[in-house]
Amino acid sequence: MTLLAQALVSGLAIGAIYALAAAGLGIVFGLFGVINFAHTQNMMIGAVAAVAAASLGAPFAVALLAGVLAAALLGALTERLFIRPLLSHETVQIDTLFITLGLAIVIENAMLMLWGSQPRYFDAPLPGMVQLGRVVLTMDRLASIVLALVVFAVLHLLVTRTRLGKAVLATAQNPEAARVVGIPVTRVRLIAFAVGCGLAGLGGVLWGVTYSVSYVTGSTFLILSFVLVVMSGPGNIASLLVCSVLLGLTESLAGAFFDTKWQRLAVMLVFIAVIMTRPQGLGAGRFARANI
């Protein structure tokens, strides 16, 4: 029983980070149909910027903000320099796929050369743990769960209750019509891209606080992020959160009851089962009302 409880608690925490990592990809891929293979590099850049700021003596809140902003800036630059020029292409999806794949490789190796291969660590900004019997939840993991819930609630409200959110939806559904009614489509797309990448940066910082920061921090999440986006259904933020937690729990339970080496296999089996039964993704039906 303790083992199960521990696995569930750990799975929730890891699911929260997965959700933040994949949220931006969900926005960009789900809403604009752009496959950004460099997306999870924003996680790495966010984590690197935050750990660098912290090592310079910045308080953790400032370091966190620096990480989010750095990732958002990289996202904005990616959109402006590499995505926007390709949007008019007939083969935009395949073009962006290869461009961003190349960009991901360049970013990772540039970071390896500039920053070195050694992992770096935050100096325990969130020490302590909550303990219930033999089940433990460290404060950094608890913070990840809380922050993910807050971020997703804000994101949901932003998209459903604000003009910006409606503009994003309109741009995603029909950019030409959106332009006709006066929505600055180009700017909206840039903002959505930057926000999505900033969220990945936040996920990267939380990952770094809980585990480590290195040049491979982002690439570890790439496949998983795409799995989450496809599994949750395009553009469905609430479903993305549910799927992230589901995969986090799957990983954790596989690690606790079998072997950690089976984690990815278990995740892929869940993914295949979902896609076989609901090809449109989990969010298309049951969670449809939560659609942004």
Partner: protein
């Protein structure tokens, strides 16, 4: 007579000048190791140590038969992926001309994948990184020399030590790689021989950083000790943190990959009491070890990981082999390496002597990390 004397002096001056101006020639080395990819962190100390040793050796020069040489090293990236390693090795063998020697710092999987290609090349190969013994031994490459202790020695000595301490039940946690499997199986074999019951064997993929579920499982089995075989620093730090977070008390023992760079990242309190067995003893008083560590720390601001010291020695072994052979001839150099005891080295006891199968013989010491920032020797290895 006077004119003859002046002529002789002039001739000597010309000859001497010519000798002084004689260009330093190259000994061409192909170096194949992971220079990018996720395992780079592991090989980084090797890269830095090789560069450090190259600078020293080339500054002094290598005298071969009266001619001064320097190592001209061309680097090939194998990314720790066997297919890439095969391509990189083929490229190294064809592009470096004339190729005098190969230095390999490959991952175990890559070393196994490229073993046949290197054997067929009939070039002297020095390998200071690959832990596996799968490509060495009687059926291995007669031109290959491995500057790393055999898995078996470490596992044997550590298992015996744990048994002597009265620890009877063990769990093994190892990375899911060729290296991890070999380490796990080897340790299990020697643990059983020492009367230890292995109650659990678990593994995880490279770069795993969430160890809480796995260790919660180990807690259920309640072994006397955990033997941990990981190669990457991020895994090791995450493992230690999870171990402490769960409040586990069983004895920790680790592969030789657990070196001082781990507590430098994780904190010495976290690793206090952990045992390891290795030929690398950084707390040694030997001047070569002190000089190497001082220079490395000064240059890079960190302590080298387990791949650093043997890689540093590799450059010196090569230089001395050429000097002693007095020739660049492969057979002559191979013979020298096989028959020489290389003194004053950093790794092991400072003496490197290869056996008939090209495996360097090293004494293995059982050491313990203590919170006083030291890797203390508990059971020194014998020659």
């Amino acid at each position: 007579m006077h004119r003859i004397f002046r002529f002789a002096i002039a001739a000597l001056a010309v000859a001497g000048g010519a000798a002084l101006a004689q260009p330093v020639k190259d000994i061409n080395i192909a170096l194949v190791l992971p220079l990018s990819g996720p395992v780079m962190v592991n090989v980084d100390p090797a890269v830095k140590s090789i560069k450090m040793a190259l600078e020293e050796v080339n500054a002094k020069g290598i005298m071969v038969g009266g001619q001064k040489y320097r190592f001209n090293v061309q680097w090939f990236d194998e990314e720790c992926k066997p297919p890439v390693a095969i391509n990189a090795t083929r490229a190294a063998l064809s592009q470096v001309q004339p190729l005098h020697m190969v230095w390999a710092g490959m991952c175990s999987s890559s070393a196994v994948a490229t073993a046949a290609i290197l054997r067929d090349s009939r070039k002297v190969v020095l390998n200071a990184v690959s832990g596996t013994s799968a490509f060495a031994g009687p059926k291995g490459d007669p031109y290959l020399f491995k500057i790393k202790e055999d898995f078996q020695w470490r596992s044997r000595d550590l298992a015996r030590y744990l048994a002597k301490r009265g620890l009877k039940k063990g769990a093994i946690i190892a990375v899911n790689s060729d290296w991890g499997h070999e380490s796990s199986k080897t340790f299990e074999k020697f643990a059983k021989e020492a009367g230890i019951d292995i109650v659990q064997t678990l593994s995880y993929d490279e770069h795993t950083e969430e160890f809480v579920p796995l260790l919660a499982q180990v807690r259920q089995a309640n072994p006397d000790f955990i033997f941990e075989a990981s190669q990457l620093l991020d895994e090791q730090v995450a493992f230690l943190r999870a171990y402490r977070q769960l409040g586990l008390k069983m004895q920790l023992a680790g592969e030789s990959t657990w070196t001082e760079d781990v507590p430098e990242k994780a904190g010495w309190q976290l690793i206090d009491g952990m045992l390891t067995a290795s030929a690398w003893v950084p707390s040694s008083d030997r001047p070569a070890v002190k000089a190497y560590l001082d220079k490395y720390r000064k240059a890079f601001g960190a302590t080298p990981g387990f791949n650093g010291p043997p890689s540093y020695d590799m450059v010196y072994i090569a230089a001395r082999a050429y000097e002693k052979a007095g020739s660049l001839d492969t057979e002559a150099v191979r013979k020298v390496i096989r028959n020489t005891t290389f003194d004053g080295m950093v790794y092991g006891s400072g003496k490197v002597k290869f056996d008939d199968h090209g495996q360097a013989e090293f004494p293995v010491s059982v050491t313990v990390f203590d919170a006083k920032r030291k890797l203390r020797v508990l059971a020194p290895g014998s020659e």
